[in-house]
């Protein structure tokens, strides 16, 4: 607990110091990655980004949130980078985690292709639309929407429940036609679990909104995918988590192309972010075996809420 508390405190201290640095004469407007009138050497920013994202990677794993969700609000709120570059990098951060896990989840028969494909088709189509909307809207409007979304995610993290194997009395017609069902063996008990889903069309409609938000804000979408797949559609939690992660690799790829095509993906931001967050995640998994992450989750929610308010205040011009 002491160790995780130190990690959280260090993270907050870094964010505050970055905020002070960023506030010293930087402007966020215009399509430049970093204001070049600063007296601070350019290489400070990627280095600082590497350190902050490394801690973020640890915090994401210990706090139970996706890297993309932490990355976009915190980096856009506390670093002097234009929001478009941060969103582009955020999508790649989420994508990197999904691509690292995807093959393993498929081999373990946990990510369901039958469940993922119809959902991915809708979510990735609307992620493209979301990315286009996000790049077309004025930055202030996107900042305000981002702030509201982040605060909404905080509330969702506080109130959302999980159901290990939801009760689905009968598969609905759409899922039956699409043959969305499966079997997996629970490794801890050896139990064979037959699963099916219901409320498919309601779920698919929600994935329209999830796709738009994923593309618009570059947040990834695991925070929304899992509750919809698990609580609404009735997929077992293990299948929902695995399919959600696999789904990100499709959804975020579609949106990432739009950002890449618009020149919003620059190596100076993306490379340290990816290296930092993946390195941090790998360290976080090791720490998870010895740390009690309850406190870290509260710290992460607090950091997110703070970053959400910061995004709101930026958007509203306070």
């Amino acid at each position: 607990m002491i160790r995780t508390g130190k990690v959280g405190a260090l993270g907050l201290a870094l964010l505050l110091s970055v905020d002070i640095l960023a506030g010293s004469g930087f402007a966020n407007e215009g399509m430049v990655a970093v204001d070049n009138t600063s007296s601070i050497s350019w290489w400070i920013w990627p280095l600082l980004l590497l350190v902050v994202t490394f801690i973020m990677g640890i915090a994401a794993v210990l706090g139970g949130v996706g890297g993309g969700v932490l990355f976009v609000p915190i980096i856009s709120g506390f670093f002097p980078f234009h929001l478009d570059f941060v969103r582009g990098a955020g999508l790649l951060v989420a994508l990197a985690g999904a691509l690292a896990a995807g093959p393993g989840l498929l081999k373990m028969n946990l990510a369901s292709l039958r469940l993922a494909m119809p959902v991915a088709l809708i979510a990735s189509s609307f992620a493209i639309l979301g990315a286009m909307i996000g790049l077309a809207l004025p930055t202030q409007v996107v900042q305000i929407a981002l702030g509201v979304t982040i605060i909404g995610i905080c509330i969702l993290m506080l109130v959302a429940k999980k159901s290990t194997v939801p009760n689905v009395p009968k598969a609905d017609p759409i899922s039956s036609v699409l043959r969305i069902y499966g079997v997996y063996q629970e490794a801890s008990t050896g139990e064979i679990i037959d699963w099916k889903i219901h409320r498919t069309w309601q779920g698919l409609i929600l994935f329209v909104a999830i796709g738009i938000m994923a593309g618009m804000f570059g947040l990834g979408a695991g925070w929304a995918n899992v509750p919809v797949l698990n609580l609404l559609m009735g997929a077992p939690l293990k299948i929902s988590v695995a399919t959600s992660k696999f789904l990100l690799s499709i959804t975020d790829t579609s949106a990432a192309w739009i950002y890449m095509n618009q020149g919003c993906v620059i190596p100076m931001i993306v490379v340290p972010s990816l290296v930092g967050i993946m390195g941090g995640s790998f360290v976080g998994v090791r720490l998870l075996r010895v740390a009690k992450p309850g406190l870290v989750r509260w710290i992460v929610i607090g950091m997110l809420a703070f970053a959400g308010l910061k995004a709101l205040s930026k958007g509203l011009g306070f």
Binding site: A60, V61, L62, G63, G64, V65, G66, G67, G97, A98, A100, A101, G102, P103, G104, L105, K107, M108, M157, K162, Q185, A187, S188, G190, G222, V226, L237, K238, V241, A242, S244, K245, S281, F282, G284, V285, L288, R289, R297
Partner: protein
């Protein structure tokens, strides 16, 4: 000169070798290999047990091979696996942790449960490709060259299109060792 002998003089007949079907779970292959390996170790042959199992398709055609290392990579990927497998394993752990469900991560289960679950993998998904075969009438020198050129330790032996046995690196070693001994 021992190396002028034919492959057919030294091969292990197919009836003495462990075989499995490509659609079988790995657990079946492991038990078959264990049985043959242990039997040979305790009695029939004191030179070397078989460390491989041949994989056949439904028409009894040879399609692949499994060895100890390949089997262990599947059973305990986080230890015996290559960099990719270990990264995948960590990636899966990260996925469950980021979804606030680390208790669902199977790599946190005990060693025995993971080995049993991984042993359900189908043989065809993990078997090694056959990287060279030899004819029964070829000489041992040709077998030796083929084995080292292709970096393999066993060679399936064919006679008139039929799989009749296996030539092992250990058999070739003993043949070459005989030269020194004599």
């Amino acid at each position: 000169m021992p190396l002028t002998r034919k492959v057919s003089d030294l091969l292990v007949p197919i009836r003495d070798y462990a075989v499995t079907n490509q659609d079988s779970p790995l657990s079946e292959a492991i038990l078959a290999l264990r049985k043959v390996y242990c039997q040979i170790e305790v009695g029939k042959c004191t030179e070397a047990g078989h460390r491989n199992i041949l994989v056949l398709d439904s028409t009894k055609r040879l399609v692949g091979i499994l060895d100890f290392r390949t089997i262990l990579k599947v059973l305990i990927p986080e230890i015996a696996g290559g960099l990719t497998q270990r990264l995948e394993s960590i990636g899966v752990s990260v996925a469950f942790a980021q979804a606030d469900s680390p208790e669902l991560d199977e790599s946190r289960l005990n060693f025995q449960s993971r080995v049993i679950k991984n042993a359900d993998t189908r043989v065809k998904h993990v078997m090694l490709k056959i990287r060279g075969v030899i004819q029964a009438q070829d000489d041992l020198l040709a077998a030796l060259k083929l084995m080292y050129a292709n970096k393999i330790t066993v060679l399936p032996v064919y006679d008139n299109g039929d799989l009749i046995g296996v030539l092992r690196e250990s058999d070739l070693f003993l043949t070459v060792a005989d030269i020194v001994n004599n």
